[in-house]
Subunit: 226 residues, 2 copies
């Protein structure tokens, strides 16, 4: 895992050296994009991406950190989703008067309202809707890098595990994702009148209680039928 | 509005005559698809569709009914969405022990679980996600043919109007749509594990209370801030 000495970031060195590093960075990102597209998020490996870019795997970690961080950079997402979500879910991460659900909706909308973040995110969604391969990549990324951490976040797992008649944390995180993906689609893609016109605060007030219940409230493991 | 005499359905007439009628029907549907795509759902008119197909507007009504019914046929949707929703929302349209929200989710899933219905619906969604023009068409169709009738359905309007601090029926219907569109996307397109694996009953139990609250419960007109 030790980066090769010649790959250390070279602030203050001459321009030619910096251009070379920037070229290597870009070559890694291009290889990552191709690998994620071909093999999905789960199937792509740092080792294979490094081989395709002609560099040592340690250099990939050195430049781009974790697999999620590499994916985020390759897809040109300006933020790492799990970092934003973990900060929002952390104890003490919100005002005392705000529910977890409302805070989550407001946090995610705060990110999406920026055109430079929304563009790449909607690009991923567009690809997923039109290509089965891209759908698999986004599904795996959502599951591993977003839903997993959300489901394991402090407090949620205990709340769900306390009653075996209640739904699993994975199901809870997934239906919360269904509401947020639907919000993105109706607000930014379909531009459905009242959802597109509402302020983030109005949406947080309306949709926050839904996420609150999905993640921490009463969601039965199975319907009673009929 | 009287259909032209020669256009009456001709059961029992000879095959050549039936083929001619079937050709006219298809010509109208092709003209409708082109008009809806070019001008959107609101901008397309029965008159312009009839002119493009070279028939009298009365014949379009005679063969295909309302504008929504014509759109439904042109997009090859095997059901008319507002008819399904109105039946589900009608007083007495559900078991006494089932909430309106749960009944709605189960009804919509009952339609979507059929591959022949889901295919054209997902086709509309795919087009909308990749083309601004198709997005406008789907937005207008959703607003006029689905959200309007749902918002006006018996009981919902009164419940919302009783308290001026509560959200409008249009906003309620639109956020309900955001949840259902997100459910379709995560279950059928992304195939997100727990949402794809759940039974319609499990999803109705989990998501029904959300629709119940969105349509008839406490949804504030604006957030208190913070």
């Amino acid at each position: 895992m030790t980066p090769q000495p010649q790959a250390q970031p070279g602030r203050g060195r001459r321009a030619g050296r910096r251009a070379g590093q920037s070229g290597t960075r870009e070559a890694i990102l291009a290889a990552a994009r191709a690998q994620f597209a071909d093999r999905g998020y789960d199937g792509a490996t740092i080792r294979a991406i490094a081989a395709a870019a002609g560099v040592d795997p340690a250099l990939v970690h050195h430049f781009h950190g974790s697999k999620e961080q590499l994916f985020t950079a390759a897809m040109r997402l300006p933020v790492v989703p799990s970092e934003v979500l973990m900060a929002a879910l952390a104890p003490g991460g919100r005002d005392p008067g705000t529910s977890l659900g409302e805070h989550l909706v407001r946090t995610v909308l705060g990110v999406w309202e920026s055109e430079e973040v929304r563009g790449p995110f909607l690009g991923l969604l567009r690809s997923a809707v039109t290509s089965e391969q891209a759908a698999a990549m986004l599904r795996e990324f959502l599951t591993e890098a977003i839903l997993g951490p959300v489901a394991r976040a402090a407090g949620l797992a205990q709340a769900a595990a306390a009653d075996p008649g209640q739904a699993s944390v994975e199901f809870r995180a997934a239906i919360a994702a269904s509401q947020m993906v639907g919000l993105a689609l109706t607000r930014y893609v379909l531009a459905l009148g009242p959802v597109a016109a509402a302020t983030p605060d109005e949406l947080a007030a309306a949709i926050g209680p839904t996420l609150e219940r999905y993640l921490t409230g009463d969601v039965r493991a199975a319907a009673a039928g009929g």
